[in-house]
């Protein structure tokens, strides 16, 4: 598999954009009219949607709402986020 499209790489993109939104969210809560912050949020929101689409198409849902019509409810599938490769 292309290394740039590995689970780790695609998930890292989702995590990076998600964290950018979390950070901008908190700043905007106390600066709700800051134009630079609003633009920053919008830009990273678009990046998150793209990254989420790329991840979920290959590796399944990140939230139940990511269901894609497949014949099985992949939401239950391993791995869960607290598990790593060392899991027995």
């Amino acid at each position: 598999m292309d290394n740039n499209n590995s689970r780790e790489v695609l998930l890292k993109r989702v995590q990076t954009s998600t964290f950018a939104l979390v950070e901008a969210n908190l700043f905007l809560d106390t600066h709700p009219r800051d134009r630079a912050a609003l633009e920053y949020f919008q830009r990273h929101h678009d990046l998150l949607q793209q990254a989420t689409k790329e991840f979920t198409e290959k590796f399944g849902p990140l939230t139940p709402a990511d269901y894609d019509g497949s014949p099985s409810w992949d939401w239950v599938s391993d791995p869960w986020p607290w598990e790593n490769k060392e899991e027995a």
């Binding site: 139940p64 599938s77 869960w80």
Partner: protein
């Protein structure tokens, strides 16, 4: 990780304040069988769950319980709006009011603060799921007790919704327990902890004869 949705799972619109009732209903936030304990219980237990469906069930029910805690808070908040000092005295709400005004603080019906000593996370999926089944029934019983004390349909309606969710959760946890038991050696159900004694594998299930 989690994100917040700015809505209640089920609407809460209470017209008439009733601080005496708030003092009873708040036990479903901070009491022994309340929603805060439920969320904490399932979201703590899930890390030791060895089967994917159980991980999902504990995660998703634990998440829903957080939404239920929010509904209880909304009910208590709306029942304690626009109170006069006279109403607070008369209703028996003064003991709560003295410490918390009309802020939300997780306590039981007697004012005892929330404690995790009301719950367990044992690292044994069979033990944990049996605790979860009991927890859902205890919460349902508490909602039944509350419903016997409430006439106001604005309060009854969301409480009835929450009561029904306990029954659905009981059903799902029952299925999770059955799925877990199916993984065990049928001759030796409780001889080992499937979350911990990972080296002991079950023999393959017998195949149906054709």
């Amino acid at each position: 990780m989690w994100s917040y949705k700015k809505m209640l799972e089920h609407p809460v619109n209470i017209k008439n304040p009733n601080p005496a009732l708030a003092k009873v209903i708040i036990t479903q936030l901070g009491g022994p069988d309340g929603e805060m304990g439920a969320a904490t219980r399932y979201l703590s237990q899930r890390y030791a769950a060895p089967y994917a469906q159980v991980k999902a069930t504990m995660t998703d029910i634990g998440t829903e319980e957080m939404g239920h805690a929010e509904m209880i808070c909304a009910i208590v908040h709306q029942l304690t709006r626009n109170l006069t000092p006279a109403e607070i005295q008369k209703s028996g709400f003064a003991s709560y009011y003295a410490d918390h005004t009309t802020g939300i603080y997780p306590v039981d019906a007697n004012g005892v603060p929330f404690s995790v000593s009301v719950l367990q996370s044992t690292g044994d999926v069979i033990t944990d799921l049996n605790e979860d089944l009991a927890a859902e029934m205890k919460a349902r019983t508490t909602y039944d007790n509350i419903l016997r004390l409430v006439d106001d349909p604005d309060v009854r309606e969301p409480i009835k919704f929450l009561r029904e969710r306990e029954i659905v959760h009981y059903q799902r946890f029952g299925e999770a327990l059955r799925l877990s038991l199916d993984q065990l050696d049928s001759k030796n159900f409780f001889a080992f902890n499937p979350s911990f004694d990972t080296k002991q594998k079950c023999p393959p299930a017998p195949q149906p004869r054709r």
